[in-house]
Amino acid sequence: MEKQHHIQLVPGDVGETVFLPGDVFRAKVIAEHFDTYELVAHSRQYITYTGTYQGVKVSVTSTGIGGAAAAIAIEELVKVGAKNLIRIGTGGMFQTWLPIPALLVITGAVRGDGLTREYFPPEYPAVADLYVVESMLKSAEKLGVEVHTGYEWSHDSFYAGSVFSKLDILEIEKPWIDAGVLIASQEASTVLTLSTARKVRGGVILASAGHHQNPHNQASAEQMVKAISDATRISLETAVLLDKMDHPEKYK
């Protein structure tokens, strides 16, 4: 098979579980949590490291920002053999009862983005894979890390729906806040719908520095480094649990 156009990978280059940060530099931070890793490819914002964690082959591929770029990475990763796609990212929270910083295991997404509208009828659900959600919760418990579960509002315009916006974001976001949606970010809708349609598992874990209601009360940079590290550790343990479920013969 030729190398995939954007991610520049062929079958065998990635493990069954691939972590998907948006940030090309965060990919290396995530890879540094593996037991071993090496650079496999780098083109545009797509960088891939593959290695092992507790004997399981795992990979990380950065997607860049937004649904459009994430969908390209996902389509190409599925073609080279990825089975479990786990986004590790950040977002701004809607619910003031959530702690700062917080780690959120995403169970579904509001499809406020354009990418999935082009792919799927608007009524198609963005739902996280049950086994990914359960494995993340088990892993968080094992590691002693507090996590919360709920929905992400996936949207396209950072400067319309973040604490840096000049618009009245709480007015724009009111329907989602009232419905109990936890957080704004950009890619869960894409990861979850595409995974369902392509018959692979999709999941999302997000770290958040603060609430849209209180732009001046945000977690420190050090706190966020730890939160993203915790999200990575949970995701790695999740990769091991999924591997045990899919390949029980390896663990006899």
């Binding site: 509001v110 009828p121 009524e123 963005a126």
Partner: protein
């Protein structure tokens, strides 16, 4: 408790305290009797229009069953009123048309989410919002099927309004109409779950759906006789899931 909940609900005709923390919702009032027969004890709470409610106990665990009629509109009403009288877990039990191969008649289908192909929930919230089952209810339904040794399939389903556009008895080329959902990995079609999922999740109430597979709707011959034993198994799976939710501190 606010004033709203002190009187009998307009449609289900129930008061707080009359309904258990977990309620099963079939479409068909006739299936409420199947539920009552499977409980150790059960008593009729109310019956108004298509809404028939029984509450009972099995192995000491209280469970209710309220029929909600056919379609998203009466389901959205029934679910809303069950929430207003204090129900915490709502599980739809029903039948469906299967659109994927490898699902046999009588198999159970556990929905993780539903396509929102109806209009009732758009009055509540934009179609962007997902109609997803609660993962803890999905887990309880899986564990119930495994405990009862019932074959099951896990995946997304399609909820829609018009039965006579997407069923073996439909007008015109229903196969062409359904092809895009087959391509999108939808397992089955039915008429209620997205209303249950949206109305519940917006209010922090847990919901799930278990369905009995009928014949694949592309089969020429629709042999849906002898479904009653499977329907009884499905109701029993719903009751078992309710017990598991109670055991897990979720009721």
């Amino acid at each position: 408790m606010d004033g709203e909940t002190l009187h009998r609900q307009h449609h289900i005709d129930c008061l707080p305290g009359e309904v258990a923390p977990t309620a099963l919702i079939p479409g068909d009032p006739g299936r409420v009797q199947v539920f009552a027969d499977l409980m150790d004890e059960a008593w009729k709470v109310a019956h108004k229009r298509e809404y028939l409610t029984y509450t009972g106990k099995k192995d000491g665990v209280p469970v209710s069953c309220t029929s909600c009629g056919i379609g998203p509109s009466p389901t959205a009403i029934g679910v809303e009123e069950l929430i207003r009288v204090g129900t915490k877990n709502i599980i739809r039990i029903g039948t469906c048309g299967v659109i994927q191969p490898d699902i046999k008649p009588g198999d159970m289908i556990i929905a993780t989410a539903a396509v929102r192909g109806e209009r009732a929930t758009e009055e509540f919230i934009s179609v962007d919002y997902p109609a997803n089952a609660d993962y803890r209810v999905v887990r309880a339904l899986i564990d119930a099927c495994e405990k009862l040794n019932l074959p099951y399939h896990l995946g997304i389903i399609r909820t829609h309004d018009a039965f006579y556009l997407e069923s073996p008895w439909a007008h015109g080329d229903y196969k062409a109409r359904l092809q895009k959902w087959i391509d999108l990995n939808v397992l089955a079609v039915e008429n209620e779950s997205s209303a249950l999922f949206v109305v519940s999740s917006m209010q922090g109430v847990r919901a799930g759906t278990i369905l009995v597979a009928g014949a694949n709707i592309f089969e020429e011959k629709q042999d849906n006789t002898d479904m009653e034993p499977h329907i009884r198994n499905m109701v029993l799976a719903g009751i078992t899931a309710a017990q598991l939710l109670q055991e897990r501190g979720l009721a």
